[in-house]
């Protein structure tokens, strides 16, 4: 099965038009000693067979339709309304490519424009791009953009240790060599050392541990933004977009660039991808922003239409002078995110965020009451929280798994001082029964 329509007579006619005898004549430019390797691949399957094989392979997994899930840590089990899949399932969207020819790509272009508008509304920022590969690469590009905003003069990036560990790892990979330094933010925040070499400060809110940073002007986010700006640096904030249905957007506490993982907005967990990176900034930095942008304009008849714009920032024009090599976005994932935000609307997104908040607090309260388990952290939290456990988290997760529950993220993986702690996540998908069952099993484990 190779989806090729040619009959033998088609091939013969085409070869005759070309003026060669055989198809092999088309490959004489390939050095003979390496031509036609024998590929050792499994024999071909019919559609029926491959679907049966894949179904069986997929059932070797413990999936979240058959398990209660309390795992988050950057990838979240949220409800995806049916309408979202039917929108992204339109093959006029998914079998198109980058809208290079706007006259026949208005569907993709307008959908991106609407997505950009909704991301601006959500984050409280002026401009949003068409998306990056994921939250981690958005963050890395935001750090590089901050250096570019200083015209390369500022070479230091300060990152909070409570930014997602894999985001920090990605940032390190993106900025190799001795040129840029990445240093850890030292808590408490009021003691940070911002200097003339600092390009940006990166924080996450809610942070990796689920905690919401306080808003007060002295020690909280507003004070932090003031300090960063006084030093001439930029404040970069990593967000969970669902939290913004309820909580103050970073645009209101002085963020210059907002990034985040867009997966919770209508995209399935998919074992880690494809996801999308949210990316938004202040208008004054618009021309330094990496990634695709769609803008509104008019056609020759004066009708509204949309085009890719500010392309002079991009690699296909600037080549080696480009500051980022990104040449696509995650268009279909952004389409899902846009459709999700429109489906949820202003009240629906708030309701999702509230359900997460209340259920997470209910779970946290119940677990904290079990002898041996303690909540870590004194700040308000959104949908995730840290608990210290009476036994190693891996053992607890094994016990939970045997009872049909996928437990929390083992924090010892990244934070040695939290090796007895796990990060639990509760969303609107978790029923009270599931939470009560979790608590029961944890009670048994604690004995």
């Amino acid at each position: 099965m190779s989806y090729i329509p040619h009959t033998d007579s088609d091939r013969a006619a085409m070869l005759a038009e070309i003026g060669v005898e055989t198809v092999a004549d088309l490959f004489l430019d390939v050095p003979k000693i390496v031509r036609y390797p024998e590929l050792k691949l499994p024999p071909p399957l019919s559609e029926m067979e491959i679907l049966a094989e894949l179904r069986s392979m997929s059932e070797e997994n413990a999936d979240l339709d058959h398990h209660a899930c309390f795992l988050g840590a950057g990838a979240y089990n949220h409800f995806v309304p049916s309408v979202v899949g039917h929108i992204t399932g339109r093959s006029e969207f998914y079998t198109a490519y980058t809208p290079y020819q706007p006259e026949i790509s208005q569907g993709t272009l307008q959908a991106i424009f609407e997505y950009q508008s909704m991301v601006c509304a959500l984050t409280g920022m002026d401009v949003a791009n068409a998306s990056h590969y994921d939250g981690a690469t958005s963050l890395a590009e935001a750090a590089i953009m901050s250096v570019n905003v200083s015209r390369g003069k500022r070479r230091k990036i300060i990152v909070s240790p409570s930014v997602h560990p894999e985001y920090r790892a990605t940032l390190r990979t993106y900025t190799p060599g001795p040129d840029l330094t990445i240093s850890n933010l030292q808590y408490p925040i009021s003691n940070i050392q911002l200097d003339a070499d600092t390009a940006c400060l990166i924080i996450q809110n809610p942070d990796f541990f689920g905690q919401l940073l306080s808003a007060d002007s002295e020690n909280g986010l507003n004070g932090l933004a003031d300090a960063v700006h006084q030093a001439g640096a930029l404040l970069v904030v990593v967000v969970d977009p669902i939290s913004l249905g309820l909580f103050t957007p970073p645009g209101e506490y002085g963020a210059d660039i907002v990034v985040g993982e867009g997966q919770p907005l209508g995209n399935p967990l998919n074992f880690g991808g494809p996801y999308l990176g949210l990316f938004a900034c202040r208008e004054k930095y618009m021309r330094k922003m990496p990634g695709r942008l769609v803008g509104e304009t008019v056609d020759t008849e004066g009708r509204r239409g949309f085009v890719l714009t500010l392309a002079t920032r991009e690699q296909h024009i600037r080549r080696e002078r480009a500051t980022s090599n990104i040449c696509t976005n995650q268009a279909l994932c952004a389409l899902a995110a846009g459709a999700y935000l429109a489906a949820m609307g202003k009240s629906g997104l708030r309701q999702v965020a509230e359900l997460c908040y209340h259920k997470a607090h209910y779970a946290a309260t119940q677990i904290a009451a079990i002898p041996g388990f303690d909540l870590v952290g004194d700040k308000p939290f959104f949908k995730e929280f840290v608990v210290r456990c009476p036994r190693p988290p891996s053992e607890i997760n094994q016990a939970l798994l045997e009872r049909g529950i996928i437990g929390g993220y083992d924090l010892g993986r990244d934070y040695p001082h939290l090796e007895d702690a796990m990060l639990l996540c509760v969303t609107e998908m978790n029923t009270k029964n599931e939470i009560d069952h979790l608590v029961e099993v944890l009670e048994e484990v604690a004995l």
Binding site: S2, P5, D29, V34, L41, S46, I50, E53, L54, R55, M57, E59, E60, N61, L64, L71, N77, V83, E92, Y94, T95, A96, Y97, Y100, P102, Q106, F113, Q116, Y133, D134, A136, G177, L212, F247, E261, P268, G273, P274, G295, T297, T300, T309, L310, A311, Q315, R319, A322, N325, T328, A331, L332, C333, M344, K346, S347, E354, H358, L401, I406, E428
Partner: protein
């Protein structure tokens, strides 16, 4: 034919989604942290669906018509791929689940790694990069890591032929390297003399797109690799054009040390309107240890020794049974000298499923057939058009052919006009003005999935347009005439950027 913005069909109080009631006691909300307003649209489900269906109808797509966009391999996307990727056993797994609970996911990734190794002739594969350009950047970082580990720090130059993709220079520059352009020779190959002149101990490596953006296989590829390797440099392969050499040549055997694949081009995963793609990177023996990770490894064990305890959870539909210990074969592991991770998690898993499905359905013979017919189609179009459209490099091409839209009989007509007029005939235009070394370039990649009738219809439209260019150039200048909108004012969009809808 335009569609209102979603915000323009919004009405306060409308809802498309109804969520369950809160089933636990409400906690106190931190009043000082709450936001005041959120200007998202408020629409009903039917209006939402119609809005997006209307938008979708404004697109040209592979499923609506021929899409010969050069360098992008817009082949048909088999529908079984989509069904496979929607299996809830895959979509409903979390990336941080314990390895023993996601053996199906890991097995699929492991097998895909193995297939790509075999197809590309590589010792190792990382599936992590999310797109072709991401894979390029990854490759450059690996080359850098290789030289650094050897203490070979004088190397700062990346050689890039003038027939390379525009992302190649950008990826090199992003890594802080100096880009040196190498001219092509008369036949569109890398100019060996020019190459020799630049090859010294300051060269990081060469980024080779082969077949290149002229659609030509470099006839001296083995010499090119030898010259670069001889000066201590490495060969990076841009795998964007793999659709012409499946089962024909293995990049690893052409001397390529590191290469990115494009699953969304070669392996039939849809382009999604600009993503998600997937850009796995393959590496030779000496570079494999620098691959980004984690990657999937298989631990061979005697399965008879692995005992599974009967679980006290009732078997549901899933085959999954919780194992008593971590004795499963597939694991995630960082390569020994990895450059680190280039994104969170393991790559675009949903895309892997589609590429895996395609490779399993085609097998080795089917893949070679793909490349043979893709090359056949491109040469057929070349043969049909060469009398009318100037051909800068007169050779058998591979998966795409590059012609010039500069027609001697119609000097006022440009490639852009020809491209726009093609839309009136129902075709997506080829890639235009690229590669830069061909003036008024038209880069045409038909792929193997288009019938001879479709190719003929396209060729006839191109020939007809060439006549129109002579007889009625204004028709082309004002084209397209039949699309939802006419030519758009891109200058206005850039000078007065309107990048979002704002509440009135």
């Amino acid at each position: 034919m335009t569609e209102p913005l979603i915000f323009e069909i919004s009405s306060p109080g409308r809802k498309a989604v109804f969520l369950p009631e809160l089933d636990v006691p409400a906690a106190e909300l931190p009043a000082e942290l709450l936001r005041e307003d959120l200007s998202l649209p408020e629409v009903s489900e039917v209006d939402l669906m119609r809005h997006y269906v209307h938008l979708s109808q404004l697109n040209h797509a592979v499923d609506t018509g021929f899409y010969p966009l050069g360098s992008c391999t817009m082949k048909y996307n088999p529908k079984v791929n989509e069904e496979a990727a929607k299996l809830p056993g895959f979509t409903r797994t979390h990336p941080y689940q314990d390895h023993c609970t996601v053996q199906g996911d890991l097995k699929l990734m492991y097998e895909l790694q193995e297939y790509l190794k075999e197809i590309g002739g590589f010792a190792g594969i990382s599936l992590q990069p999310a797109a072709g350009a991401h894979g390029e950047f990854t490759g450059i970082l690996m080359m850098r890591a290789y030289h650094e580990e050897r203490g070979d720090t004088r190397r700062t130059k990346v050689l890039i032929p003038d027939s390379a993709h525009g992302t190649n220079p950008a990826s090199s520059a992003m890594s802080g390297y100096q880009v040196v352009e190498i001219k092509s020779d008369q036949r569109g190959n890398v100019n060996l003399e020019a190459l020799r002149a630049y090859c010294d101990d300051t060269v990081v490596g060469l980024m080779l797109t082969n077949p290149n953006t002229l659609g030509l296989f470099d006839e001296h590829v083995l010499e090119v690799s030898e010259i670069v390797h001889h000066c201590g440099g490495l060969m990076f392969g841009d795998g964007a054009n793999m659709n012409s050499i499946l089962g024909i040549a293995r990049p690893g055997e052409l001397g390529i040390d590191v290469m990115m694949f494009n699953l969304h081009k070669t392996f039939s995963t849809p382009h999604g309107g600009g993503g998600p793609g997937s850009g796995p990177v393959g590496a030779s023996e000496r570079l494999a240890k620098y691959l980004p990770g984690p990657i999937v490894v298989k631990v061979e064990r005697e399965t008879s020794n692995v005992k599974r305890e009967t679980s006290n959870v009732k078997r549901k539909i899933s085959n999954f049974q919780p194992p008593t210990s971590n004795l499963q074969p597939y694991h995630l592991k960082m390569p020994s000298a990895s450059i680190g991770r280039v994104k969170a998690f393991y790559g675009n898993f949903g895309v892997f499923i589609k590429a895996y499905t395609y490779i399993r359905m085609l097998g080795a013979a089917g893949l070679r057939q793909v490349s043979e017919d893709a090359v056949l189609a491109a040469n057929y179009l070349l043969a049909r058009l060469r009398e009318v459209y100037p051909l800068p490099y007169d050779r058998i091409c591979k998966h795409e052919c590059v012609l010039s839209g500069h027609l001697p009989q119609a000097p006022d007509v440009h490639t852009l006009d020809i491209a726009k007029r093609l839309m009136d005939y129902g075709f997506h235009p080829p890639t235009i003005y690229f590669p830069l070394i061909v003036p008024e370039a038209l880069m045409i990649e038909p792929t193997e999935t288009e019938s001879k009738e479709t190719l003929d219809a396209f060729a006839e439209a191109m020939l007809r347009i060439a006549e129109e260019a002579q007889d009625n150039p204004d028709l082309l200048h004002r084209a397209p005439h039949t699309t939802p909108v006419t030519r758009l004012d891109e200058v206005r969009a850039a000078r007065h950027p309107r990048l979002r809808w704002k509440p009135v």
